[in-house]
Structure formats: structure tokens, C-alpha cells
Symmetry: D2
Subunit: 507 residues, 4 copies
């Protein structure tokens, strides 16, 4: 974590080499992930977050109030609504550039959440987590590292709390405490970009009870700490990246990544512990993190831009782009895509200041944003498949295209518009397949469904925030029903209506 800062995507990729990680993929240990054909595209996606900060610093970097230096925006704590909005804009742009998950939002959102949670925790308990956290943050900002956030425990029997599980390891927990620090064990599932990070921030995954004290742990761990194993998922069509050629992968250069992380007595020294046993703050941390993170799914609008573009391109290649129903479907896809964007931007814009000075997005709108993300990309994907035509799933492989005798048949018979190379038509169809069935459908669809909380989690949050009693009063008043007292809009910004009707500072 010392050493000179990483200054580009290329330097970032180099920084990952030579770590002695214990990684498994398809039953085999992976000695050097950077060179593994299935893993590499996910590393390339993270690398884009460095390069964009160079090519468009206003979008993807920020001035750190902590260091006074210009830092990557993924390491910046938002201290205004404008900062929150800029996160969304950067996310959309990276979605456009990679067409996939660039994996760095979890860390950004974890850092932002910990900023205010450690502050509030200290104020409440007289602890010193916030300063520790800031020390860690300064070093990370200076070195320009990738932070992974590790939240989702494997959970076991969902009807039982962590401490009630038959196997105590089904949630990550403290197994031993020493004067220098703690040892943790357990496993985190579906960890986005973990292999491609430098540090992991471990956090609890749900509200905890007093009995769950050993599970109320937050802290930072180097990715190559002793005792960690990474078990990669075998995801739809990912082996195509290892089959040679570049067409059949659809998006040869970029991909997402999920793995399970298994911790076996991993040591965390005191200076990297940001919560230890304060069960009453576990849900606070979870809620703030998900509030940031649900709105971070604005990234999918950038991915959606790519898919809309792919659908329009194949319609163009087929010679039907001007058909009114084609045009209308592109409009609908755009309408849906911008719906997500609008909700995300509104959530960021209506953010509120926490006591630590960090800004938190509006919780209601963040949930509305993510809830759309669990629905609309599926419909955008369906429409893309409609425009693509059936060929997107019956294409022969690139090897047929290159084949001495079969190749000419492919060239001849898969020709669309005369002026478009058959290969280009195939390439764009493979991209649509990649995004709706293949490797990136994992990120664009299923992860959109479950990442940062499944749909029901958002509905629960919306239910909590919807202030139904306030709305009932509105209705009763207009219906002429006498009511004990007309409920006023609270001043307390912790309620949604107070935030809705709060004056906006002139910007």
C-alpha cells in the first residue's frame, strides 16, 4: 500500500501481477489471474476506471479534501449532492465504454458509507474508528488502489440469525481476538471484482442481534492476506474467452467477475478494524451502503446504451432500421433506460448531509432506481432480442467463418445488406448474445436483479419510507373527514417528504 501511486490502467494491471493468490476456476488453481484468458477481461474493465480518470478527469477524478490531491473518483467521499451526481455520470460513462460491470462501485460505496457510520458510531460510543478509517482512506487515495467490498454472506438457513446457524461460519465472524487484532472466518458469496482489488472491506450483511456480536465486524483486508481462497463462478459462456478467436465472446475485451471468498482465520490488525461488536450499527452500515449502491446501478444505463446501440446496428445491418416498429422499439428501450438514469440522478441530487460531512443519496429514490433495475434491463434485453432476430442464437462459431470450405458458405448465406461485411453482422449479433444470454447477461440481467439487494429488499425499504400515514391525512382532509390533527411535513430530513420539500441550495 505504500509505493508510488498507480497512474494508468496499464500500471494497474501490472500491480496485480505476482501476488500469491489462492484462486480456483473450473476445478483448477489459477497461478496468475492476470494472464488467465477467462479472468483477464474482467481486469481490463477495472483498468478502464484508471484510464478514464486520465482522459476525462472532471468526470472520473476529484479533489480530495483529505489529501488535497486529485484522486480517482472511486476513492472520493461525496461531500455534496453534486459529488453524488458525478458518481452516477462516471458510472454511466464506464458502462458505455466497457459494456459490462467495471467492479469498482462496491468499494466506492463502502468507503462512503463507512465515513459517516464510523463517525456516528464514535459519537455514540466514544470509539476511535473514524480516524482510523480516514488514515486508511488517505493511504488508499494516495496509492490509488482498487477497493473491493465484501458484504454478502453465504447465509445458510435464511430463517435463522448468524448465531443460530448450525455451522457458525455461515456468516463471517471473529474467531479469535488478540491485542494486535482479530482473526476472521467464513465466506462471502458473489463477490464482484474481488480478485481484481487490492483491498477488501469486510462488512456485515444484515441487521444483527446482541447474540451476533462476533458477526458485527467491519475492516480492511489485503486481497493477498493469508488464509483467503477465491473460488470463481463458472458463468454463462465465459469459456468462450478461452476458445481462441474473439468474435464468439461477443465483447472480447471486457467482462465482469464474481467469486466466492473463503476466509480461514484471516488476521486483521487493529488499525484496519472499523467496527467490532457494535451490533446496533450493523443495520446502519448495511442501509447506508445499500442506499449508495442501489443508486450506483445507474451504471446499467451505460450498458443499456451499448445494447440499444447494438440493437440499432443490427436493425441497420438487416436493412430495417427505418421501419416504424423498429424505431418505436428503440424509443421504448431509450425511455426505459433513461427512467433508471432519472431515478438515480434524482436520488443523488436529493442527497442529504450526514454528520460526518459525507452526503448520502435519497433512500426512497435510490430504492426506486434499483427496483427499476430489477425489471427494465430484462425488457430492454427482450426488445434487443426482438430486433436482433433469431440468428443471434443460431450463429456458427468463428471457426466456421475462418474454415476453408465452410467459411465461404457462411460469408455467402449470412450476408445481410450488401454493403455490410458478414463478419460485422456476426460480431454485433454475438454482442447482443453476450449481453442478453452470455457472459455479460450475468451482469446486465441477473446481477441487476440481485446485486445490492433483491427486489423484495427494495420493496421493504420503499414500504418503510413511504409515509403512508402522511398520505392518508392528505386524502382525509380532501374527503372532508375530521382527523385528530393534520399531519405536517416534518423538518427532520430523515423522512422522505421532508427531503422532497426541502429547499434546494442554489447551485
Amino acid at each position: 500500500m505504500s509505493g508510488r501511486p498507480i497512474r494508468s490502467g496499464a500500471e494497474y494491471i501490472e500491480s496485480l501481477r505476482g501476488r500469491n493468490l489462492k484462486v480456483y476456476l473450473m476445478g483448477e488453481p489459477v497461478s496468475e489471474p492476470v494472464d488467465h484468458p477467462i479472468i483477464r477481461p474482467s481486469i481490463n474493465a477495472v483498468a478502464e476506471t484508471y484510464d478514464l480518470a486520465n482522459s476525462n478527469p472532471e468526470l472520473a477524478s476529484a479533489m480530495s479534501p483529505l489529501t488535497g490531491e486529485r484522486i480517482n473518483r472511486f476513492l472520493h467521499i461525496a461531500t455534496s449532492p453534486a459529488d453524488l451526481v458525478m458518481q452516477n455520470k462516471m458510472q454511466r460513462r464506464l458502462g458505455q465504454l466497457t459494456g459490462t460491470c467495471f467492479q469498482r462501485c462496491v468499494g466506492m460505496d463502502a468507503l462512503n458509507a463507512l465515513h459517516s457510520v464510523t463517525f456516528d458510531l464514535d459519537r455514540n460510543n466514544g470509539t476511535g474508528y473514524h480516524d482510523r478509517f480516514k488514515d486508511f482512506l488517505v493511504r488508499v487515495q494516495h496509492s490509488n488502489l482498487v477497493i473491493g467490498g465484501a458484504m454478502t454472506d453465504v447465509k445458510g438457513d435464511r430463517s435463522k440469525s448468524p448465531s443460530q446457524q448450525a455451522d457458525p461460519d455461515l456468516f463471517v465472524r471473529v474467531t479469535r481476538r488478540t491485542p494486535e487484532g482479530i482473526f476472521i472466518s467464513g465466506a462471502k458469496a458473489h463477490q464482484t471484482g474481488c480478485l481484481n482489488s487490492h483491498w477488501l472491506i469486510v462488512m456485515p450483511t444484515m441487521r444483527l442481534e446482541a447474540a451476533d456480536k462476533d458477526y458485527a465486524i467491519a475492516g480492511a483486508v489485503p486481497v493477498d492476506a493469508g488464509g483467503i481462497a477465491y473460488i470463481c463462478g463458472w458463468q454463462s459462456c465465459d469459456t468462450r474467452s478461452a476458445e481462441g478467436g474473439e468474435i464468439d465472446a461477443g465483447n472480447a475485451r471486457f467482462a465482469g467477475q464474481e467469486a466466492m471468498i473463503v476466509f480461514e482465520d484471516v488476521f486483521v490488525p487493529n488499525e484496519h478494524i472499523f467496527m467490532d461488536g457494535e451490533v446496533e450499527f450493523a443495520s446502519t452500515l448495511v442501509e447506508r451502503f445499500t442506499c449508495y449502491h442501489r443508486r450506483s446501478y445507474v451504471c446499467k444505463t451505460g450498458v443499456g446504451d451499448v445494447l440499444i446501440g447494438a440493437a440499432a446496428t443490427i436493425a441497420d445491418y438487416n436493412g430495417v432500421e427505418r421501419a416504424s416498429h423498429v424505431r418505436d422499439k428503440l424509443v421504448e428501450m431509450t425511455h426505459l433506460n433513461e427512467t433508471i438514469y432519472g431515478a438515480g440522478i434524482a436520488a443523488s441530487h436529493q442527497g442529504m448531509e450526514m454528520k460526518s460531512g459525507a452526503f448520502l443519496p435519497d433512500e426512497m429514490l435510490a430504492n426506486v432506481c434499483k427496483h427499476h433495475v430489477t425489471r427494465l434491463p430484462y425488457e430492454i434485453g427482450r426488445l434487443a432480442q426482438d430486433l436482433a432476430g433469431g440468428l443471434m442464437v443460431t450463429l456458427p462459431s468463428e471457426r466456421e467463418l475462418r474454415h476453408e470450405t465452410i467459411g465461404p458458405m457462411i460469408e455467402k448465406y449470412l450476408k445481410g445488406r450488401a454493403d455490410i461485411p458478414t463478419e460485422d453482422r456476426i460480431r454485433i449479433l454475438r454482442l447482443v448474445e453476450n449481453m442478453t444470454l452470455g457472459r455479460n447477461a450475468v451482469g446486465y440481467l441477473t446481477e441487476s436483479m440481485h446485486g445490492a439487494g433483491s427486489p423484495q429488499a427494495q420493496r421493504i425499504q420503499i414500504a418503510r419510507a413511504m409515509q403512508i400515514e402522511f398520505k392518508k391525512e392528505l386524502a382525509k382532509t380532501l374527503a372532508g373527514i375530521n382527523s385528530a390533527s393534520r399531519q405536517e411535513i416534518a423538518d427532520d430530513l430523515s423522512t422522505y417528504m421532508a427531503r422532497v420539500f426541502a429547499p434546494v441550495q442554489r447551485n
Copy 2:
């Protein structure tokens, strides 16, 4: 327009008395609209815009850069994204307080649009409209008047332009010009709140050609100018306001209003003319006005809050509020309602500065907002009817409730939960009826569909703004297709992507 400013809802109502308007309703002339039982609720709704400015000045008033005075926000020109956002917040609040259309947005949006259009028109043509417009605006701000906007012509045969119509009056036009001003004739349909305004701003309704010069007219006309007739619509259930009692109307105090305005050689003096013959600016004016106005439909989220509250109340009165499907429907209604709000706020937040200094909302997001308004209130209304139960359409009248022998039967048999008065149950059901079938369904549903442009109008705008070529390049790049040149995001904020990726000023 001189005289002391209007300072409250009550003063506003008084200001409407004694005008010698030619008004027809259900075949009868209306001598004093203020006292007409069907018209009065719509006047009450406008009056709330005055009272809110007093009770919550931060929300509903603003400091005028023109006069240096605090003025009603409906008369304020937005000179920052924050101003645009505050318009939306005020609109939502007034929707909550009235449960209907408070009719004053058209004027606000017309004034804002004219501010930049007259400026640009003068820059282009060397005319002096902008100063004239500002003079008018200063007086209006000072007197605190209600401005109605009159845009929608009756249109006749939709396949023909104004000048091609068999009857030249099917679009409002200049019939005569004198050194002092012009005379106009024609009719504007569906005019919201026209009777309840002090001035009307007449504007063209569509793109015009050179031959349509006499139709390229914008100007201000007092509501009681000679030659104007107002023909009120007969709207669903509006006669209930005249039947005595207050329950059956559902929302006895507030309602919307639409009428047709017929102009017969109405004189407009030069100082109130803001465009005359500049056909090339007609579409500019229409597009800017609709951009403001489509996002102004955020008001419907306030109305939606009332309907959600009404649905929750009746579920409560029926004793089923805790049922999981009831709860889930309230969540869905909230999710949809906040979707509209989010898109509107994002449109305002992402507004851009015009040369005149006025800020215009983001066009794409404004259209996305309005497009949702043409769909989601119908679904919210459907869910409200689901929760209300069939009784909402089979209720006997208030007269039965008050009837000597029938009244006790009603009391006995329409009782729900024992602790809730039968009358309260009836009242809330009548409110749901009012908002989904009755007088306010006109505003909450059909006007949501067609006001500020029908759904297809938004789709056309979305199609224009969706930058499909930019998105095709994104896809081709990722698919590995060689393309002449990778298209960069333009700096020109007139394109959507430029606005998306423009840095936000820190606020």
C-alpha cells in the same frame, strides 16, 4: 394590472369578481363564475397557490431578479437548476393540498419559455420583443396575477397546415394589423384554468411554414378582453358540485377546469405582442414550452400521493391494511409515483442555461417524465380501485345517507370496521371515485395523457434526442467492428449525452 398586489387566496378570489366575461356552461350563460357551484372549486384550487406562497414562502415564492421583490414562484423565471427543481417541489405540494390541477403551471411555463425565445428571436432578427416581454413580466410579478397560457388550437383536419385549412380560423391568427396592434381570431381548446386567470398568453401550437405567417403570433391578452367567449366543458360528474351536499363530489373543495376559448377579432396592442410572423421561431417556442411543461407534470405525483393515501385509508377502514397483497399494492403505487417524480427532478436538475439566462429543463428527461405520466397514473388508479372495492361505484347518494328511513339502512349496512363512521367510509370512497372516474379523473388520467402533448409527441421527441448513432458506435467498438471514427461526446449541450456527461457545479 395596476393596483395593489394580490396577497392571499381570498384576495385572489375577490379579484375575479365583477369581470364581464362571456361564459357558457351546460347551455347557459354564467354571470358570475366565482359563485357558480361547478366553477368555484376550480377557483379554490388556484387560490391555494397564493396561500402556499404565504405559508411556505421558501417553497412557493422566490426573489425576482427583475423587481428585487419576493414574488410568487409561478411568476418567477428560473435562472438555475435549483429554481427548476423548486418548481417541481412546489407543484408536488400543491397536488397534495388540492388533489387536482391548480392550473397555474401553464402560465409559469409559458413565461419561462418566452424569456429565452424572445431573447433569441431579438438576437437573430434585431427585434425588441424581449424588453417588451420583461416589462410585461415586471408588472405581472408586481401585481401577482394569474397567467393562463393558450396554446392548443382546435386544429381541424390534422393532415393540413393552418394556412391550408378550409376554414382559416381553425388556428388562431392575425386578422388585421393596425399601427397600435393586431386583431386575432380563432379558438383554443382544452384551456386549463382560463376563466380563473387574469391574462392569457396566446402562443402557436406547432411548427409553422412560411405560408403560416399570420399564425406565428404570441402575445398577452386580458381574460376579459372584448371578443372572447369561454365555453366550458361538461366533464365527468361535475354536476355533482351543484346537487347540494358535499360528499358525492368526492373532493368538494377543489377541482380542475378546462374550457374552449373563442376569439373574435380580439385586439392585442403592440406592447403585449411577443412574436408576430417569425414562423421560424414557432417550433422553438413550442418545444421550449413543452420541455418545461412536460416536466411540470410532477404535480401529478402530489395528486398521486392523495390517491395512495385514499387507497390506504379505505383498506384501513375495511380492516385489511395489513394484508400482504394490500401492502404490496401500496408499495407498487408508491414506486410508480416516485418514478415520475424522479424523472422530473432529474430533468430539472440537468437543466441548461439559455442565452437569456433562463434555465431550460433537460429535454430527454422531461419527455421521459411526461411519458410516464401518460401511463403510470392509470396503473395507480387501477390499483386504487382494486383496494377500494366495488362499493366505490355502487354507493347511494348523500341524500340516502341523510334520508329519514333509508339513512339508517345505509348506516347499518355500509358499516365496515366498527370504530369507523359509515360516513367517513363513504367519503373516502367518493374521493377514489372522484380521482379515477369522476371530475378529477379528467385531470389525473385523461389530461395526464394529453396535456403538454400526447404520448406519441413524447416518443417523437425521445427519438430525436436519443443519439442512436452515438450508441451504435459504442456497440461497434465493443464488438470489434472497425468504424470510420469513434464518435466523441460533443461539448455542445444541445445534445443529450453532452448534458449527461457535463460536470455538475458543486452546490
Copy 3:
């Protein structure tokens, strides 16, 4: 009930005169419903069921196995899938001809349900209800009478059973028993067409417990029996039928009807009692009735045909029928409308024979049909409003059209295509208003939602019938999961999958 049979709509209308009914509407007693301008359109709609039987006997009549005579199909017991299907076809046609609810299905479905329930009840309990019921049926068939079904109790506190209510009358119950019969008291809400019937069939509304014995009552009562009062609902825009003119009503000739029926010690002689105290058969009766009745909502596809036609007509009158988005909306409306029809026909086709020889529609598909009816007419209505344009809610009244000075303005300015009379344009817009906001929106929308059970009732039935364990076995088998035993499709037609895979008799 003796006397010569009713042979036409006109004779039916005459048959209703001179009954001494106690009817209230808008606070006033109605001496002769036949002549009441608000009630009459609902009588006209029933009359069409007689006239169609004459003009198209194959569609609207059937040969009675009981009497050997050709009878109105509404009085026929279905003894084959083809009979069930023909009910749906007749219903659609009557929906087309009246554009509203013709009110006679409740009785048809009640008779069909009682046929098998009384048979099964007798087989189980050794009672003699089935013969009694058939005697009644023969007389009714012979006289060609209208039967209303009275099921929906007012229910009071929904968390309590009938016998637990504070007021025992909140469900209809037996108050006294004599050797000759019983006396009943209570009230039924939302009773479709009750005033326009000759007999009412009273039935329980829900599953009953042993303590609810006095509520387990089914029987036939003449509409003019002593002790009955009818309290009509005041429904959206129904007073327009009493305002003179015929345009503003939208559909001047036809309408639906709902009223509350209050029973005060009404006597039912033994020969008209079809269930008395057999609480265990209450839910059987409710379930069979709703099974028939949910599929009977195919009538709404006929009403939908009218609304689709109205939307196409106004698009035509506006000169935009050929626009691709207009065409596309008409296709979507048709697709949705035929979805309801398809589910209904499939439910009827897949009907199963009961022990009495009557055929019952498929319960799953009947619920799927009705569940669509709670959603799709709202979307069809929304699309109709889209095509209609805003004028449908801002139209002045017919009186303005006929007004000496205002009339010519209306003629001039509400002109659409030059070759279409302004009045015709207004007429079709008023029809769309009638069907989406006005008097018939009550039937096409809200009654579609709640009639024959609210949406959640269908979901509960679908959940019961969905055989999730069978489907889990299918999945486990394909996933290679060892399972105790592969579950076979049962032979018992009482499960859905057995009916799905039952061979169809060749027809």
C-alpha cells in the same frame, strides 16, 4: 310465474311494469322504474337478451332437456363443453350489441351452479333440494323469466365471520323458521340488475363455519316480495340520462345497474329453498358459481369490441387512422381483448362433467380469464383515451351544440375531417367517455375489477390449483435430483393437470 312466456324484449319490459317495488334513487322513491330515465337504459340492456334469442336462436337459445322446449340460453343448464362455449359466444355478442352489462349472467351462473350443488348435497345428506330446484327451473324456463343472483353480502368487519359480527344482519340470514318456510334478513350489495329481474336467487357469499348455520341459505325470492327495499347506486355520470338530449350520455340506450338489496324478514316458502343450514356446502356453491361467473366475463370482450371500434372511429374522424402508432395501438387493444376471450373459451372448452350432468368450466382457466379482466380493460381503456384525444373530456354539452349563438361556434371549431359532421365526432367521443370515465366505466372497469371476486380472490384460487408439487417434480427430474417418487398425473379430473391431459372427445 305462471302465465304465458315472455317472447320479446318489448314483452319483457311490459312484464316489469306495475310491480310495487320499494326503490330509492338519489334520495327519492321511484314509483315506476321502467319509466325512470336513469333506470330505463339498464332495462333496455336486459331486453336485448330476449331479442337476440329471437334474431339468432342458435346463439342465444337452447333446447331444454327438462322441458323439451327451446328456451333462452340464460336459463339453460350446460350439459356439454359446447354449451359452456356457446354461453361465452352469446355473452360476447350481447356485449357488442349493448356496450354494457346486460345483467343476466349472474342468474345463469347461479342456476348452473345450483344444479350440481343441490345434486351433490342430496347425495351427501339425503335431502331433496335437487328436485325442488328442477321444479323451479322448469317453471322459470317455461315463463322465460329473468333471474338475478344475490350473493355479495355487505360483510361489515372483514376480519370476522358472519356469526361473529356485532350486528348479525351484516350477512343475510334466517331469522325465523316456520313449517311453511323461512324468513330472512340482511343486505346484499352491488346487485347487478336486481330491479330488472323477476326472481332473485339468494346465496351465501363465502365459506362458512358450523356456527354460521343460519347463514347457509340458498333460495329463490320474487323481486317484489314483501320486505325488500332496493337502494340504487349513484354512479358516474348516470344523471346525464335524465338531463334531456341523448349525446352526452354517450350510450343513450343501454346501461348497467347496481343496487343494494335490503331484506327485512322476507319469507321464502319451502319449495323455493335450495340449501338451509348445510354450512359444508356453502363454499362449494360459492366456488362453483364463481367458476362459471369468472369465465362469464368474456362479455367484456364484446364491450371491448365496441371500445376498439370507437377508438378506431375517432382516429378516422381525426384523419389519423393510418398512422402507424394508431394502427399499432388498435392491434394491441385487439390482442388484449382476444386474450380474455381465449382464456374464457379455453375454460369452457376444458369444462368437466359434474355428477348432476351439468358441466363446470375449468377452474384454473376461469380464474386466469377473470384475472385478465381485472387488468386488460384498464389498458384497453387507456389506449382508447390515447386515441380519442383530450377533447373527450373537454366537450361542451349537447345544449351548447343546439344553442342559437354558441351552436355555430361548436360546429365551426370542433370540426375534424371536413366530411364528418361535428355532431358525429362529438357522439363518438362521448361514447369513449361513457366507457372509460362515465356510466359504463363502472361496468367495463370497476366491475371488471371486483365482480365475481376481486383480483386477490383469483390469485388465491390460482395458487390452490397450480399444483406446485407436481411442477417441482418435473424440475427435479430434469435436474437429476433423486426424488422419492416421480409424481404422476392424477386421473382425478379435480386437479388441473388431469384436466389438461385428459383426452378430448372428438366433436
Copy 4:
């Protein structure tokens, strides 16, 4: 085609061996498709169509009027609505048993369409195709062969007709005629189950003009005829079938199949030609085939049953099956699935007799059925992913599960409910992945979209059949608009309304 009939799935598989087919898959020739691990599952699926005919002959076989023998239902010509309905029931059952496309419907639908088309063609032109066709059919029925239908040409530039293409081979065409027969060249794309068939029936893919005479060709060709090459698609996750293990494939035993067929001067003798040059019957054949085939997508309801079962199973394994939102999602999935079934059954039930004696499904309802198939499986799939949880896309491979050191970690950490083996949980998740992203998503989603015609094709057919003028008359009549003549329902069953209102024969 001689030899003894195939009597079981096993015999069918043997019948495929040793054919000298020219097959390519992933760039390699496939010497024996039966033994190829990627192809074999698709053969297994077809084999089920033989075994079901043995285990449930009423469902999957029929008595042939041509041969007097009991034959497989896939080779039977439907001569009653009941026959059409039984096709749907068999299709649903096979979908349940295989969870994929069993590939034999295309042939069934092609045979049924050719029966009436050759008959009508002969009546019109005095040709002798119908007898030829019946001769072929008798032999096929006797030998119990699999017939593939080859319709979809590769099409090239979609704005040009076959004869206008730069390359004349972009539609299959006659290249040479001899006294004994014809030679054909060209290619058919997306051919379902072609490799697994014994015969292919070649048909034109669209309406043809006079200039397209050489493209108006229908005939039967043995799959192993000289000059044919098969180029298999590389489909999502299909290589998993070749990676060893059986879990990761999700559905190890069954799969669908699509390939491109390239014809190079393939000879068709006269006795196997069923159309040659009669361009005016090309569209008739296409329309009748698609009418049968669009309703054949009822098969997807059987596949849907599997997916619903899989979703319920994983909810069960996670311990949340009783949660109300889980239950509600299963209900919704069922509702949508049965919607497709209902529309299909109704289409079959409302089938009409052709002059040849064959029955054709109702065209409107067949299109409504298929149009739902282009939408609802996507939503069912989305809901299945919702219930599955994110683990369905982050699972490690079976090799990790079997791995000495990693295996125990997987066992420990991917445990859900304590009583469910981890492996079973993984198996069911892999099945959901298979059906929503993997190999069978090709069939359940994308093929549902495009097979038998893309969505717009159905909308065009619905538009043609929707009888909008008839519906306009209904509306005008009710609105009181004088119309030249009230349009009656035609007797001609070729219109939809005539079929709707036609009496049903009692069955």
C-alpha cells in the same frame, strides 16, 4: 423409408446412426451426430416423442384415417377441433418431460398445412399434388419417421424479393429441371431439429411474385440426400455438455437444436414435389403453416411448468417458499403460463374445416397465442431469476464440488436448508440458469421470440384479422351515428367474427 416402423425412442436413436451426413460444429466435421456430446441431448428430446406415444397413446398417438393404423400424433392430420386440441396437450406434456424443444412440431404443422394447400392447389390448377402428398404421408406414417420442416430462408437484403437479390441463392430455388425431378440450391437458417429428422419438407418462406417462380417450391428431401451440408449453431453454454459431469449443463439429458442447412444442387424426384412454381399459393402455404405453428408454441407452457417448478424448488431449498411475495410470484408465473395455454387451446378449439377435411386453428387466436409467447416467457424467466437468487450465476463448476480440497468448502458454504444436499441446491440452480441464460434459454426465450414469426409478424396478422370496420359499426350504432348500413356478421368463416359466433357442435 421402407423397412419396419420405428417403435420406441431407442429404435429411433438407432435409426439415425450411420447416415453419412455432412455436419459441422465449432469448426469440426461431426462423423456421428448420435455420439456427439453436444448433439446427443437434442436427439434424446426427439426420442421422447416416441416413448410418450407408447406410454400414453391417447395423448401422443392417433388413428390414421389414411392407414387405419394407430400412428404417432406428430404424423397425424387433424380432422377435428379435438385433434387440434390434442396436439396442444401432447406438446405441453412433452415440454414438461424434456424442459426443452422436442423439435417435431415443425414437421407436424408442415404436413397439416400441405394437406389442405395441395388440395386447394389441385382444385384451382388441376394438378395432382394432393395424391402425391398423401402417398408420401402414408409411407411416413407407416414407418413412423421424423419430419423436419425447412422454411426460413437466409433472406439477404430484406428490402428485396428473392428474384431481386444480388445472389439468387439467398432463397432456396430450383436451379434445374429434368423429367424426373428438380435440383434445388440455397440455404435455410435456424432449422430446428434438422439433423435429427429423417426427411425435410422444404417450403417457401414468404409471399412470392410472378418473377419468383423458381422459388415457389415445396417438396420432401431425405436428410441424407447428396448435396446437403448442416452447419450447427454455437449456442449459449452448449459446450458444457462436452465438459464432463452432468450438473453444469443444467438439463443434461435434453436440449434443442438449430442448424443452417445448405443445399447445393440437391435432387428432388417428382413424387416428392408438392408445389412447383405456383407462386400464388406460396403465401397460402406460409400462412396456414404459421397458423398451425404459432399455436404449437403451447409447448412452451410445458417448459414453463418446469421453470415454475424449478423456481418453487429453489425457494423451498432456501427456506422461503412460504413467504407471501414468493408465493405471489409463483402465482403470477402460473397466470402468465396458463394465458399462453388458454389462447392456444382456444385457437385449436375454434379451428375450422378446410376443403381437404383437415382442420386449421383459428388464425386470430393462434397469433394472439404466439404473440404472448414472445413476451411472457421472458417475464416468467425474470421471475424465476428473482426467486433463484444471485447464486444461479456465481456457482462454481461441478469440478469444484468434486475437488478434494475445494469440494468441502463448497459443501459447507453453499449449504441452504440443513436437510437439503448442497448438490441438489446446485443442480436446481443450474437448471434455472440453463432455462434463462443457458442452452435452453435459446429455445425458451429467443426461439419463443422469433420462431414461427417474429412479434411484428403476429401484429400484422392480427391487424389483418381484426375487422376494424365491423367494430366501428358497433360503436357508431351505440353512439347514435347514422351509418349507411349496419354491418352484419358474415357467414363466411374466413372472417374472425364469423368463427367467433359460429355455433359449436356439441361434443
